[in-house]
Amino acid sequence: MFLINCPYCGERDQQEFKAGGEAHIERPKQPTELSDDEWAEYLFMRKNIKGIQFERWNHVHGCRKWFNMVRDTSNDEIKAIYKMGEKPPA
């Protein structure tokens, strides 16, 4: 059970959060201009790697805010947490 440091509320139990999949996949600004393949790339393709992964999380049973997390999926170590719109750490 992770201990997640919500950027708005502080450290809370994982039970209060919901994972929201891969981070930094921006919704295309002009979807109608895209080919089927380009749209499918946005719609369906997600990474699932062993190692450092960038994820979206939502403090759904708390402040309801979305934020980003860098997690090492091999040992579940949370490397960084940062707000939506902020640049991922190098």
């Binding site: 919704r27 979807p31 109608t32 749209w39 499918a40 939502n58």
Partner: protein, 1001 residues
Amino acid sequence: MTKNLRVKSSEYIDETNRISFKFNGKTYHGFKGDTLASALLANDVHLVGRSFKYHRPRGIMTSGSEEPNAIVQVNPGTNRTEPNVRATEVEIYEGLEASSQNCWPSVEFDIGGINNFLSPFFPAGFYYKTFMWPASFWEKYEFFIRHSAGLGKSPTSNDPDIYDHRNIHCDVLVVGAGISGILAAKNAAKNNFKTLLVDEKNELGGSTIFENNKFNKIDNKTPSEWLKKEIEELKNIKNLEIKTRTSVAAYHQYNYLLARENLTDHLEAKDKTNKIRQRLLKIRAKKVILATGALERPLIFNNNDRPGIMLSSAIKKYSEFYGVACGSKNVFFTNNDSAYESALSLYNKGINVEAIIDIREQSESKIVKKVKEAGIKVYWSHTIVDTAGYKRLNGISIMKLSNDGTSVTGSKISISCDCLGVAGGWTPAVHLYTQSGSKLKFDEEKQIFLPNQNTSQQISVGSCGGDFKIDEIIKNLNQKLKDNLNIKETDLDNIKVEIDQENSKRNIWLLPSDKPLGKTKPFVDYQNDATAKDIKLALREGFRSIEHVKRYTTTGMGTDQGKLGNMHALGIIADTAGVKMGELGTTTFRPPYTPLTFGTIVGRNVGKFFDIFRRTPINDWHVENKAEFENVGQWKRAWYYPINGETMHQAVQRESKAARESAGILDASTLGKIDIQGSDASEFLNRVYTNAWSKLAVGKCRYGLMLNEDGMVYDDGVTTRLGENHYIMTTTTGGAANVLGKLEDYLQTEWPELDVYLTSVTDHYATASLCGPNSKNILKKIIPDLDLSDENFPHMSFKEAHIGNIQCRIMRISFTGEHSYEINVQASYGKDLWEKCIEAGKEFNITPYGTETMHLLRAEKGFIIVGQDTDGTMTPIDLQMDWIVSKKKYDFIGKRSLYRSDTMREDRKQLVGLLTDDPNIVLEEGAQIVSELNQSPVEMLGHVTSSYFSPNLKKSIALAVVRGGKDMMGKKLFVPMENKNINVTVANPVFYDEKNERLNA
């Protein structure tokens, strides 16, 4: 006649407090402080159970939670009965009853014992191999297997006890209150760390508390005396909470641990009532100090499982702590010095020790000399090749061990004995450590797995960290505390320790016999009856991974998870396969460390708290008026209101007719309601719904369809513009939370530039939906001053009004096709509003209707229910709802997906109406639809999604999704059922009032 083997009073046993208890129906006596195991041993009872596969007689083997054999059913036949309890952990109390498990008809005479003599036919994987063919016979095999297996009986009546959960946050959690744990907790707390110390036993001090030998001294006291003084000092330390009878079950990531605190299991029945029995502690600790100690290993030799064969350390504990002799003719079998400590303990209490069999060639330590001086015979370089005695050990045979330890030589010596203590060295209890995700490494010299890299804020101290001598323990503990807690001084700095302990050991995982292995029974896993033979067989059959060998032989898969024998299993595999133990790795230790009751896991979430439900503010009225309820998400919704013994069908037919002919009323409070405000609210709705919202006037309502980004219908509902920058959105009952979550997601992550605020107000309002040609007349009676003319208050519009002092929001919208109003008031006025409507509607025969009638009425109109007529694969085009998809809007959620090659296929499943040729046949929802009856395999075209008998149309109607259905209007299809084929015709899904004339009726 039972013997009394109580040898000497012990300070932990209160001999003034005599307790009687029953075991297998017979009454025995023990004292306050005894465990069931110690009390039985004091009565010379060793035989307590039968093994799982061969039903071999088994006795008490240990003195702790690692016990594999002495598994009993506590208080059988009562509502507090519990199976699979370790007799070594049950504290006795007046009136306790316990019985053996896994034996029939009794532990003394067990029919299953015949398996023991058939055992050549029960090798590893026997069940897998034998019961596979023919497949149809499995049911018969299963019957016999289930009857001959089984560990105990679960209670059949309700659990009378209360269970609880508690969250604990601490700076330092210390697991285990042996010498290391106590010193760690004391120093952590003294340095202002909020500390919690837990131990599974009821007494602090671990094994050091009865360490009275004269060889080891701490500050010139025996370890026992010294530790008692330390424990006494704990009482005055702030920041320290101590919990005994508390077993840590699981150690999860981020230092999240679950522990079971036992509060009433040791009390008499009369003292158990109305108290919390067990409490699950959910502990989040900044630092965890594991001081879980070590478990003594047995030795693996032929017939090493007879009642009377015990761990050497257990014999010592029974003697020193409980004042009980486990036998009157004791022998020890060892590969290290531990057995000599036990032998000396017995000797000092005047208990007879016949001999010590030592597989080592020699040892010169002080304690060995002392044992020799006591006149106890030691057989060096000898091993036990066999044991005798069926229900109780009565003798052993030993032979000289060859130099390489793989065979025996010379002549056999027989020694008569009734108790054998085995000492195979010590295995650090690293179970919790590995559960946390931390990794072990194998120490070739000590032949043990030790903590290696820590992944959380944790340290392992004492013997679970690999330190076995008191001087090492204190020195290393001191350093680890300073490093890990960042403290400069501890009260361990100046402790003076004198010790004389030797660690010399000769490790042989499987000891040889004079018989070939195939003719012997060297048990590795006592509970599951896995022998060294089985492990070797698995290797011969090609299993290599330790995890596979474990499953094939069931080694380590009992309720004890193989706490005693797992190391030997690994050792035998490594030796046989010729690999190093370190390369082999270990099997995974899974939580819980010791079994938990279901009660502890669920805590207070039982009965009506098992699954949370929601009730509307009008619920009491539905109950008073005998409504039947159905679950919709978490909601309890009125389903139908039967009168005079009506069936559901009769009630629904009556309700449906009444709603169309005069007036009906529905509790619609469960619909999700989201308050949307902000200067970009209109633009936001434009982006989330398929249709256009910018031109919706204030005071008007509009139906909207929401898609997922993949173009599939996600939710629907009516949204009303309350003000320039203020809307109220309704969602489906089940979808409310998800819709809010999805909208928040877009607002926060994709469109943060939009000025929009969302608030869930579902619970804030109660909603009565008034429908039918007389709904207008009823509303007029309640709110006489509101102009209800079509000009002032047309369909799809909104008014704010007052009923007396109650403010209400009224939407003229319809889910039934009838003239209809949805009246919203503050939740607390819900029942009042409802009763006013019922009162005013009496003269119009107002009829309350439930969800079933609502479904029927909307199906007559061909209105979809998201989640019933859609299943996450339906686009609005598939639903024939093209009219609601804006062609002009540049973008909305899911728009691009409507132009993907797949979503544009003509032969997708599409929503259609279905009429049965025989109007009295009602199709089954979910029934398959085909066009050819004699095809093989038959092509499934789709299925029925909604189906009812319409009392208003006097015929059966259905909605269905059919491949290419849009172009099949009028086509004859079939719905094949078990006994008949039903002929159907594809029809327009709007069955009733196609021109919507009734909306303004």
